[in-house]
Symmetry: C2
Subunit: 202 residues, 2 copies
DNA sequence: CCGTTTCCATATCGAGCGGTATATAATCAA
DNA sequence: TTGATTATATACCGCTCGATATGGAAACGG
């Protein structure tokens, strides 16, 4: 996981880039892009301001790299969920994976994507658009998965796939809001159980 | 709607307090508490900074008054929804009322409560707690309404009322997130239609 | 040893933040 | 008219923001 090509010349870096990025992710995750100040970031990362700029460019570039890390490490369950054999299994795994991701005892609660798209001033608009775009990509994958489920017969023909996807997305987003507001894992579990009882088809 | 007891002495105010407050609400609604700067507020309200402080106290007091206005004027549909004869009617009216409130063509999209509770730095924590508390009050009313629905028989005995309430809240919050992200009224309508198909009972 | 390169530490930049001091303008009671 | 009272207008306060300039410390090839 170490950065591969450390330049041989010059003074070597005194911190681990990956660990610093992971620390930055936690700060963004709990405070949002604009809520995370450079003081917050450098303190959590254990480095100074010029080191941060030398290693990551600027705050926006750092956020994008943190977002990449978030997707690959924290949202791995999304890809796995899509591989479930039925639409119902996809939805349930998405909901439960999201719940675990958003109520971990050792990481911030809530969802980085939701926080970043809601809590975003107009000067960081491009950050917001970036986050929304990534969300749309995942949404399209979900729509296609449900279309397939219809073909395969585990989703009733009468279901509006777009509506169902928005419905599931709303549950995921609402769960993120509630997790950020202090809901416990048990709270969310009851919500998911109730949701799954209503899920169409079998 | 004019402020009743205008003091008879001294130079009279040159602006309407209610209109200024309504303008401030729109700014908070679209940008959140911290995202709304005093320049944003004064410009939208058409008054200067000292006038704002003389009339409203400070930014936090202004926000609380805007929050009161939001509840009484924009969330009036909540109380009406609770008076619906069935649990299903309550849910549907809440969802559709929320949709209309969040996708008005002449007002900001999304929900002031969701924006304010998600997009809130740590120095404005008391604002966040205030918003969350108001949300909890409404949630309790919803739980009681669904308990009553069980007694009255229009909600199956097997339903977990807390879970159902969290479920409905999640839909409302998710809808706010999507509306803030640019979802159209038609998008949300499909989501609500799909949700209502799944609603338990009647 | 040297010169080069890269990194770290401190101090600082200009801009925007929430909030206010000061002076002037407008209205009332007398 | 005069004095008291209140609103407005301008300029400013201390502070934090993201971002950098500067100078020295640590590694390398020669």
């Amino acid at each position: 996981m170490e950065t591969v090509a450390t330049p041989v010349k010059g003074r070597p870096r005194e911190f681990c880039v990956d660990m610093a990025l992971a620390a930055a992710l936690r700060v963004f995750w709990s405070k949002g892009y604009e809520g995370a100040s450079l003081n917050d970031l450098t303190e959590a990362m254990g480095i100074t301001r010029p080191s941060l700029y030398a290693a990551f460019g600027n705050k926006e570039a750092l956020f994008r790299k943190a977002l990449d890390l978030y997707e690959t490490e924290k949202l791995a369950y999304v890809g796995k969920s899509l591989a479930e054999p039925t639409a119902r299994g996809v939805a349930e795994h998405l909901l439960r994976g999201s719940m675990e991701n958003q109520t971990s005892t050792c990481e911030p609660h809530g969802c980085l994507g939701v926080i970043s798209s809601v809590a975003c001033g107009e000067e960081a608009e491009c950050i917001r658009l970036e986050v929304l775009e990534r969300g749309k990509v995942a949404r399209r994958a979900l729509v296609e998965r449900f279309e397939r489920a219809k073909v395969e017969g585990d989703l009733p023909e009468s279901v509006d796939v777009e509506g169902l996807t928005s419905f599931l997305y709303a549950l995921l987003q609402g769960m993120a809001v509630q997790a950020g507001a202090g809901a416990t894992r048990a709270d969310l579990e009851r919500m998911i159980d109730t949701s799954m009882i209503m899920w169409p088809s079998k």
